[in-house]
Symmetry: C2
Subunit: 345 residues, 2 copies
């Protein structure tokens, strides 16, 4: 065929030359942007095929000043919560022929900012921030410094589950109301003695769920003393730790609320390891309804969030042209009572 050892990329120029047409014509054929005489079109197509031509997306992005890449920043893809949301995101992205750049920050604010900057540099057409932000002035300033100019130059930004940044579209789970509803369901069951296992209070998601839960408890005349709120990392192991710590302290509520299902999974393990029966000795409830919790034994009572749908919606928002007022879409949580909760003994 050609001189072997092709070490360099095939360019549109090469295709045009091989087809003996101009660059412009080759471009037009490949995009169907304008009518081209049939024989020329054939030649271009043939040449492109023979040379295994692949357009250089960077050159295209540069020339057209637009790209079809959207960025998604989350805490950790391997957390089922983010995985479920990502799934929805990916599906809609695929439908719209968008490429997704997915970043895991592992909850490191610096890394989050670095990714935002990289995405801006990539001229990603949109950036999706999934998961609570950080209650950190420095970080907020830095993030604004990245995203502000990005938005001003036509970049689209949306967030899932964080309110602070005001000017962007948002998909917001109703954490507060959901937690309140859960609390009511639990008090309706007869519980009066609670403990809560939470992640870092600085995360708005945590704060909202806690506040909603506590408020509804108060309405029912139940108090939640501060020492019944146990803080630990926002992971399965964190849930285990928190539950173990609770047991160690001798705190014996009739019902435990873990602010996320992931933490509830850890708590369930801790209870099992310590011989505490769920729900006979203690009821346990989570939040999110990640896919696995229905398969646990006992199946977990939780507040269901339509995670995949939230991801889909966020991606749809971001692909639409911006509105003057930023859109806020709220997703209510639905209480799902399963075997992990029962009336207190």
């Amino acid at each position: 065929m050609d001189d072997s050892g092709e070490r360099t990329h095939v360019t549109l120029q090469d295709v045009a030359r091989a087809a003996d047409v101009s660059l412009a014509t080759a471009s037009r054929v490949l995009h169907g942007t304008a009518r081209v005489r049939d024989d020329l079109r054939e030649r271009v197509l043939a040449a492109a095929g023979a040379l295994a031509y692949a357009p250089n997306a960077h050159a295209q992005a540069l020339a057209r000043a637009s790209s079809q890449v959207v960025g998604v920043i989350c805490h950790d893809v391997s957390d089922p919560y983010f995985a479920a949301i990502s799934r929805g995101v990916m599906r809609v992205a695929a439908e719209h022929d968008q490429l997704v750049m997915l970043a895991s920050t592992f909850r490191d604010p610096a890394r989050e900012i670095a990714y935002a900057a990289a995405l801006r540099a990539q001229r990603a057409r949109a950036v999706l921030l999934i998961g609570s932000g950080f209650e950190d002035r420095e970080w907020e300033r830095a993030m604004d410094a990245e995203l502000g100019p990005y938005v001003r130059t036509g970049g689209r930004v949306a967030v899932v589950s964080r309110h602070r940044s005001l000017r962007v579209d948002a998909v917001l789970p109703e954490n507060r109301a959901g937690a309140a509803a859960l609390a009511r369901a639990l008090t309706d069951l007869g519980h009066r003695e609670f403990a809560v296992l939470t992640g870092p209070r600085a995360l708005t998601t945590v704060a909202d769920r806690l506040a909603g839960f506590r408020a509804a408890l108060a309405d029912a005349g139940v108090e939640l003393p501060e020492d019944r709120v146990i803080e630990a990392p926002f992971t399965r192991d964190g849930g285990y730790q928190a539950a173990a710590e609770m047991l160690r302290r001798g705190t014996r509520p009739t019902c435990v609320f873990a602010v996320t299902d992931v933490m509830a999974i850890g708590a369930l393990a801790a209870f099992r390891d310590h011989g505490v029966r769920v729900p006979a000795d203690v009821s346990l409830a989570g939040f999110d309804d990640i896919p696995i919790v229905a398969d646990l034994t006992p199946a977990l009572t939780t507040a269901r969030l339509p995670l995949e749908e939230m991801g889909e919606r966020a991606m749809e928002l971001i692909l639409q042209p911006p509105r003057a007022r930023s859109r806020i879409e709220r997703f209510p949580a639905e209480i799902v009572l399963r075997a992990s909760t029962a009336a207190p003994a």
Copy 2:
């Protein structure tokens, strides 16, 4: 400040102009590529900051003919198996300042090829294919047509868990040996009556695990009749279906092997729903050791694969310069006996 309503991007040219230096100098300052007089450097830095300059990664990629994007193609991010591998991938990518474009194909061959093409167009410096390929001639040809030229022009490709494509680096779990070891562990427990719940046989992962399991069984003098191998989709629900189907057929083995943990989770649910006790009535084993299965009740016996590590290794391979001979890294599976298996009644 400047004329408001900035609708266009700040370019290096703008920065240079504001700092009253040449384009070249500005570029040099921003990259530290060469010594620049201190006052000029200061001016450039100040201007870049004031203008919130963000380099255009596309222009950079074009000018330097390289990018720091790596592509990852998997079946479904929300499957814990891929999520765990992705986690390792992400971590190493972050360490090396690489941006990851993550695509879920939802097991659609056409989509896989479309992504490969897009990644090639993006001049991704490397592409990682995770998960079994498809036993489809047409697909193989199309994939080769994308990846061949890509590799020839300096693109790096690696695969996790698929052998067919020969010329690329690979991270291979020892599915066959692992399944064999699992079979031995199970026969050692005293089981002689087995059933296997599998995903599509066309997937090499499935074929290998099945073959290894069957071979070791044969060595132990145990036969696995074809009607004891039940095929279903490669998901939690597939596992449920397969187990339900097995029960419906009246097949009552003393031990069931689900070729993936995800399917085992479904099977466990099916057994529970049908009043079949695990392991009292039937033992159940999976494969992969995805994080959740240790928390199930009963905890699942499985063949552990170091998923996160496999992802890390794959990313490392791909970031290294290519070798003449493609590298193959094998990861053995380790048998983890948990409560879901016991000696037959």
